[in-house]
């Protein structure tokens, strides 16, 4: 980010607009426009403020919600798990003491922190947004610079509304062409991560661009930016455009009247200048993509659904080979097995990656008039109370329950299994979440990351399935797969 450079990237423009203090030999001090808070990573930060006798500097730029370990059933009862209850109660107490707005369980605005911000319209282009959660990158879909921070940094932002930071490098991920039918944003980002690796984005802000990205809805863009962190990147961003402005217009916290015009003028100046240089560029051909699923224990271990479980013996890199061997052992998979023959016990539709209304709509469209196959449980967990209410207004809950799926209350749920929604040891899921790490969804649980459409089709057949393969014959074949 050289000072003499006149063409700038989106990330550089947002960064530069937030530098409070720049001194040689020291990190830049950046102003933070929005700080999102949840129950798990904030207690020590509030504690730090308390012991130093410091207030929250800008409660009006801070927003808390309960999401990580709230139950998705019986939400009117006290939380059964004592550790979860203590964390949630601590958040309530801290927010009351420090005047931080909080959407507790039972509020209509409660939900996963990365679903709540955008739907309220507090997430806007050109902002700096942080949260003590790595998937804060989600908000980059609006052209915001949004990234996860540690607990000390949470305290720093609470106390000062700023963060000392060294600039990130920039990487362009250009996706041109048309996504084939049945290929979603989730498939696209899983393919990108498989391509650049789980460490490929380290130290970078990724900017997704190109004609295929421009055609995506805001919700699909959020799915993509959300998973930037799984490529090791600090953040992901997409330039704001007409789609962004349309999504924002009329949201509770979106500017109105003359303010809207002023905001729009700034937002429209943000897209990367033609000719601006990125530190690295990756090009993806959208038309070559297929529904994508993971077979291993990190999000980079994925393949097209039409492929087979890879053979570690054919992986040249020794570190990757042994990682693949360990992954297959944990996942209990045999090399050469077609991915479409892998049977699951559980289907999880939800999370900050794929728990928004469009995700529920597309899964419901697949499930309409069909049944979740015997022996498979399907959990549908809306990302927020608003998403839940919207889905109910559209009758999506009826489609899910008629198919035999469970219709739950909002939260992170089985994405990380901090609440009672967990896989039992040895159970296997098709999950629309973002991490397939060992034990992520419950000790000994096995996770295949998929799109909402593949999740729904998989629920129907009981094995990893693309909706386009959903014929009566395919359904019948599930029993001997």
């Amino acid at each position: 980010m050289a000072a003499e450079q006149t063409q700038r990237t989106l990330a550089e423009k947002v960064w530069n607009a937030h530098v409070v203090r720049r001194v040689d030999g020291e990190p830049d001090l950046l102003f933070i426009d929005l700080h999102l808070v949840h129950e798990v990573t904030s207690p020590q930060a509030f504690d730090g403020l308390r012991s130093a006798g410091r207030p929250v500097h800008r409660p009006d730029l801070t927003l808390a919600t309960e999401d990580h370990n709230v139950p998705t059933l019986d939400i009117d009862l006290p939380i059964a798990d004592p550790v979860s209850r203590i964390q949630v109660e601590a958040l309530r107490k801290n927010c009351a003491e420090f005047d931080v707005p909080l959407f507790p369980l039972g509020s209509t605005e409660q939900g996963i922190v990365h679903v709540v911000g955008p739907q309220l319209g507090v997430t806007q282009p050109g902002m700096t947004i942080v949260c003590g959660d790595s998937h804060t990158s989600t908000h980059g879909a609006f052209g915001a610079l949004a990234f996860g921070i540690g607990t000390s940094e949470v305290e720093h932002v609470l106390a000062t509304q700023t963060l000392p930071l060294k600039p990130f490098k920039t990487m362009a991920i250009t996706v041109e062409g048309e996504l084939p039918a049945d290929v979603t944003a989730k498939d696209l980002i899983l393919a990108v991560i498989a391509e650049i690796g789980t460490g490929g984005g380290q130290g970078y802000v990724l900017e997704y661009r190109g004609s295929a990205i421009e055609k995506l809805s805001i919700e699909a863009r959020m799915t993509i930016c959300n998973m930037s962190i799984e490529a090791g990147a600090r953040a992901g961003m997409i330039a704001p455009d007409a789609t962004t402005y349309e999504y924002l217009r009329g949201r509770p916290h979106a500017p109105i009247g003359a303010d809207w015009d002023a905001a729009l003028a700034w937002w429209s100046s943000l897209p990367t200048d033609p000719g601006a240089a990125f530190d690295r560029e990756v090009v993806v051909d959208a038309s070559s993509l297929q529904p994508f699923v993971t077979w291993g224990t990190n999000p980079g271990q994925g393949l097209p659904l039409s492929a087979s479980v890879p053979d570690p013996a054919q992986i040249a890199d020794p570190a990757e080979r042994s990682a693949a061997e360990r992954a297959l052992e944990y996942m209990d998979l045999v090399p050469g097995t077609p991915l479409s023959q892998i049977r699951v016990d559980t289907v999880f539709l939800g999370s900050c990656t794929n728990g928004r209304i469009e995700d529920l709509r597309s899964a419901a469209a697949v499930l309409q008039g069909r049944k979740v196959v015997d022996g498979v449980r399907m959990l549908v967990v809306p990302g927020s109370v608003r998403v839940r209410l919207e889905a109910e207004a559209e009758g999506l809950d009826q489609i899910f329950t008629a198919a035999g799926a469970e219709w739950r209350h909002a939260g992170c749920s089985m994405c990380l299994g901090m609440n009672p929604d967990q896989l039992a040891p040895g159970e296997r899921s098709a999950s629309t979440s973002n991490r397939n790490f060992e034990g992520r969804q419950g000790k000994g649980g096995r996770t295949h990351l998929v799109s909402p459409q593949v999740a729904a089709a998989t629920a129907v057949t009981g094995r990893l399935t693309s909706p386009s393969d959903l014929t009566d014959a395919a359904i019948g074949a599930s029993s001997n797969a």
């Binding site: 409070v20 203090r21 607990t151 000390s152 700023t162 500017p255 303010d259």
Partner: protein, 197 residues
């Protein structure tokens, strides 16, 4: 953060290398909601062994942990620093620290000092021969003194200054409240607020 100028204390000899953050504090101890109380989890897996240095009566009250190379590798959990501080340590000496651990420790006021293996071994020997031996850690002069020896150590000026002043990042940033206020005054009024209008 407490100022660090000169610290005088006794050595806990930890004759181990590659002490990772899971060993410093296992994950099951991370559920607390406060920044204190993590001393219970410090080196939890080793605490059952009566011969573990931390359990030896002659080493009670030691405040300078001296360990082998690659101290603090593994996860980035800040709880590792908190556990050492909660237990009473002010200084950790090792021939080499993991980057993230070192960053976290200097941020939090736990002084981490890299010294050559030979010095570390002499510190171990001195502490084992006479556990009451005091070590003087002089940050101003950037040297440690023990048993008639004076050994210089390196620490960059910025980190040293922050420790001497007792400034955590928050304290440091709060020195610039005037420029933060200026920045805030210039922000467009339409930028979103989380409180309802």
């Amino acid at each position: 953060m407490e100022k660090f100028t000169t610290h005088t204390g006794r050595v806990l000899p930890l004759r181990r290398s590659n002490v990772d953050t899971d060993q410093i504090i296992p994950a099951v101890y991370l559920k607390r909601i406060s920044r204190d109380g993590f001393e219970d989890g410090l080196f939890a897996a080793w605490r059952n062994d009566p011969d573990f240095a931390l359990n030896r009566p002659e080493h009670q009250g030691a405040t300078v942990l001296v360990a082998g190379p690659e101290f603090g590798i593994g996860s980035s959990r800040e709880h590792a620093v908190w556990a050492l501080q909660n237990y009473g340590f002010r200084v950790v000496v090792s021939p080499r620290f993991a980057d993230i651990f070192r960053g976290n420790s200097l941020k939090g006021g736990l002084l981490t000092i890299e010294l050559p293996v030979g010095v570390v071994e002499r510190l171990w020997a001195v502490a084992e021969a006479d556990p009451t031996t005091d070590v003087i850690v002089d940050l101003q002069a950037r040297e440690i003194r023990f048993a008639g020896e004076t050994v210089p150590f390196e620490l960059d000026d910025y980190a040293r200054w922050r420790l001497l002043e007792g400034l955590d990042d928050v304290g440091l940033t709060l020195r610039h409240t005037d420029i933060i206020a200026e920045f805030e005054a210039a922000r467009p009024a339409w930028m979103p607020k989380t409180v309802t209008r």
